[in-house]
């Protein structure tokens, strides 16, 4: 299944670029849903190129980001392996990530393609894998059933109310004691 980027790149690029040009900026087909559901983001370790979604159908849009280029650094992305050509990665507001986006051509063949980015400073190169699938296992990776998001901890006794209640009862006890004390002294109840 795994096909190297170099093998497919040359064979696919020409047709893919034509198809991409024809398809213009049209939104990806609804069929992309399944692939997105099947996407598995790659590990987010520093020094790699993260690819979202890591599995996409032809025509789908892909977002890549990396922390490897340092704070406020841009990079030059290369997705020509999958026929999408060069694209820029710009610094983002998020934690020093450089971010870029490209669209997989409609004519891209299924396979695994290597996406590369060269940092603008330092000459560092980072890589990430993009899987192109024609169809996808629809719904297979959807969650099932309910979610365990509570233990009832909010339902226990409220410490503030409990303390206030105890304090109020203490006041009542003191008042009652005082009244009884006065009556015992014959102070006129």
């Amino acid at each position: 299944m795994r096909r190297t980027a170099r093998l497919s790149a040359g064979a696919v690029t020409g047709a893919a670029l034509t198809a991409a040009a024809l398809s213009g900026l049209a939104a990806p087909a609804y069929g992309a849903e399944g692939a997105l559901a099947a996407a598995r983001p790659s590990a987010s370790a520093t020094g790699t190129l993260e690819v979202y979604p890591s599995s996409v159908v032809p025509g789908g849009q892909v977002s890549v980001n990396t922390k490897a280029c340092g704070q406020k650094a841009s990079a030059a992305g290369d997705a020509s392996a999958v026929g999408a050509g060069a694209f820029p990665l710009s610094p983002s507001t998020h934690e020093g990530d450089a971010i870029g986006q490209f669209r997989v051509p409609e004519g891209a063949q299924p396979g695994t393609y290597e996406i590369v980015a060269d940092c603008a400073e330092g000459g560092r190169r980072v890589k990430g894998d993009l899987i192109v699938a024609l169809t996808s296992a629809q719904g297979q990776l959807q969650p099932r059933g309910s979610v365990k998001t509570g233990v009832g901890g909010a339902l226990g006794t409220d410490p503030v109310k409990t303390a206030a209640g105890v304090a109020a009862l203490a006041v009542a006890a003191a008042g009652g004691t005082w009244l009884l004390h006065r009556r015992a002294r014959g102070d006129g109840i």
């Binding site: 997105l36 598995r40 969650p143 998001t149 409990t162 209640g165 009542a172 008042g175």
Partner: protein, 206 residues
Amino acid sequence: MRRIGNSAIATVTVVAFCSGAWLLYSADASHAPPQPAAVEGRPDPGEERLMAPALPPSPPTRIRIPSIRVNAPLIGLGLTSSGSLDVPPAQDKNLAGWYESGTTPGERGTAIVAGHVDNMQGPAVFYDLGALKKGATIDVDRRDGGVAVFTVDAIEVYEAKDFPDAKVYGAAPRPELRVITCGGGYSRSTGYQGNVVVFAHLTGNH
């Protein structure tokens, strides 16, 4: 003079006793999370038609729901061995998660966010989710620096034993968001009986 003093003390005593008893009684179970009214389950057709074009995929970093004062970071979530959506660590009460093998919020499809209604210490990030109203705004900050703006279509409560997987998790032809927390009835032996699920769709971005 003495009589007035006595009746004042007697009044204070009675009031203190009654309020003390009431406070102690209501301190128990006074904190059940709010649950949505039935009317919140029916989308308004007008609201439904407003929608924004899908955004490119970009992982979310933070969810903000101003009307219920939610502002929490998002972590990636996977699935448990039984296939249900995993949950964020319960210790951190201001933390939510998103299903990172699925759709990113703003992208075409169904993005899923989940968070705790409470933990052992008390209310947590989505405690007030059941009090959300149709038409409310949910902002999701994304790693590309943009903000996906969603509008709430409906808030539902589903029993765990009859959970509508397709409706909650199923693919959508437009950018949609689900926000999930625990809800429904609560019993000490089995915990919460189900989930509060918020249905929203993309109506803007900035």
